[in-house]
Amino acid sequence: MLAVENLCKHFGGLQAVHNCSFSVAEGTITGLIGPNGAGKTTTFNMIAGELPPTSGKILFEGQDIAGLPTHEMFHRGIVRTFQIPHELAQMTVLENLMLVPPAQPGERLWSNWFSRASVRSREKSVMEQAEDALEFLSIYHLRDELAGNLSGGQKKLLELGRTMMTNAKLVLLDEPGAGVNPTLVLKIRDMILRLKEERGYTFCLIEHDMDMIGALCDPVIVMAEGAVLMEGSMDEVRSDPRVLDAYLGGEAA
């Protein structure tokens, strides 16, 4: 579904991502791990269109999409969440979700003034969709709360909720379990599995929690120093000396 070929991102002299190639097969939950600074989030930012690559290709469903703007990626079905939650703090939880669905008639000024019935009926269905998502995430009671008042874990859930308001095919999750208490991590794990089953999303997820990676991901891709170090099942990754070396540094191995 997604194939990254020789992707590079250089910031001045820093080679954040260098000749990185991997692919994500449809229907999988592909894990992306690696030490801090390995270039995982930078790779995500390029796939999601937030950063133009320095060079290389990003093939999505056979088409090279490298360098397209974020909203183009979104409309092709690539949706991402953020490592640090990007909630709209002064808007309600419900509004945070209602913002997301694409091509709402009410986003066109003209329609709001001259075809209000269509705007109103879509608003109603978007609201129901958002309420469904809130029930799925079991945060319906926070519907009218300002998103800025949520706890860290609840904001993570809201990030996940945003992906449910789209026609996503590929969902990029950037550390969905970081800074979340262990019980909630288990819940988020279940939700990811359910979204895969019920909605047919393909996931690619960055995570440092190896239990979560082990429980969800196959295959697992290990990145180090801007490139792919290896790829395989979690067991293969665990037993590969190069991975240990990358995480702990050369001398320790």
Partner: protein
């Protein structure tokens, strides 16, 4: 009785100018309050609207192009269109700039507009301006001519207010608020942020153009000083900030309130002793600055702070 009649005329003119400024201020509210775009060249769009109406509605004259004598309503539309088109062009180049750079760029654009009107003497009569601009209903007996024009301005304020209230509560306004809150999140939600910014910038400029058209008719005269940064740009900012940014009611009330104070300050400074006369212009500016301070100390978010629409009622029993 005569004094009372004089006061009434003053009151009508106060409301008319307040209404024209309310349209300007609503335009700035779309740009700054909704879209977060720092336009420091309001006077440019205002002057474009004024000149378009001036040149298109006047009788033939040897001093400037014209003689089209077109219908007032069409002139309003074309004034808005012209200001909107220029805003689109400026926006294409400048909207990617961050706030402070955008401010500088819009100051520049307004200055370019002023210099064009000033120096293209064959078309605009240069610094001597365009006079004898027809004003709707001016043939009615006094005071009905003034009242009729006031009514036109008030209708425009009402329509603009209504349209912006709807836009702000609609999904369009939701996207606008979200862009100010967290731009990357809105991009990740698949919205074309540049497109929305552009819509806000152009819509705001169109309202400023309409205000310019009213001003041309009200004064029956335009010259390049119409884009004066003090009265056409700075004063509008004070109005919006005092009234309440991102609040349409705040924009309208701020405009009328500050215009009243500005106008009244002339009465006060006019009574100062003669040796102070040369300084009165500066004293008024000082008073406006002082007023801005006082209001902001008391109402840091403006008299009417931004209000998000109430959450829609739930379609289901609380879970």
């Amino acid at each position: 009785m005569d004094a009372l009649y004089g006061y009434s005329l003053y009151f009508i003119s106060l409301l008319t100018m307040g209404g024209i400024y309310a349209v300007l201020c609503l335009g700035l509210n779309v740009q700054w309050g909704f879209a977060g775009l720092f336009n420091a060249g309001i006077g440019g769009f205002f002057a474009i609207g004024a000149y378009v109406t001036a040149l298109l509605t006047t009788a033939p004259s040897a001093r400037h192009i014209g003689g089209f004598e077109i219908n007032t309503l069409v002139a309003y539309g074309l004034s808005m269109l012209a200001a909107g088109l220029v805003a689109w062009g400026v926006g294409k180049v400048c909207l990617r700039l961050r706030s402070d750079y955008l401010a500088i760029a819009t100051i520049g654009a307004a200055e370019v507009v002023r210099l064009i009107f000033k120096n293209e003497t064959d078309y605009t009569n240069g610094p001597r301006g365009v006079s004898a601009i027809p004003k709707p209903f001016e043939t009615l007996p006094e005071p009905w001519n003034h009242i009729a024009f006031l009514v036109i301005v008030l209708i425009a304020v009402a329509i603009a207010f209504w349209a912006l209230q709807i836009a702000q509560r609609a999904p369009w306004g939701r996207v606008m608020t979200a862009i100010r809150e967290n731009e990357p999140a809105v991009r990740a939600a698949g919205k074309d942020v540049e497109q929305f910014r552009m819509e806000g910038f152009v819509l705001g400029a169109m309202l400023m153009g309409l205000a310019g058209a009213f001003m041309a008719q009200y004064l029956k005269f335009v010259d390049p000083n119409l884009s004066d940064p003090l009265t056409a740009t700075f004063l509008v900012w004070v109005m919006l900030v005092v009234g309440g940014s991102a609040n349409n009611k705040g924009a309208v009330i701020g405009a009328v309130l500050i215009w009243t104070l500005w106008s009244a300050s002339e009465i006060v400074t006019g009574r100062l002793p003669d040796e102070w006369a040369v300084r009165t212009a500066y004293a008024r500016i000082f008073l406006i600055g002082l007023m801005l301070q006082v209001f902001l100390q008391k109402y840091p978010l403006g008299i009417f702070p931004e209000q998000r629409p109430r959450p829609p009622r739930s379609s289901r029993e609380s879970a």
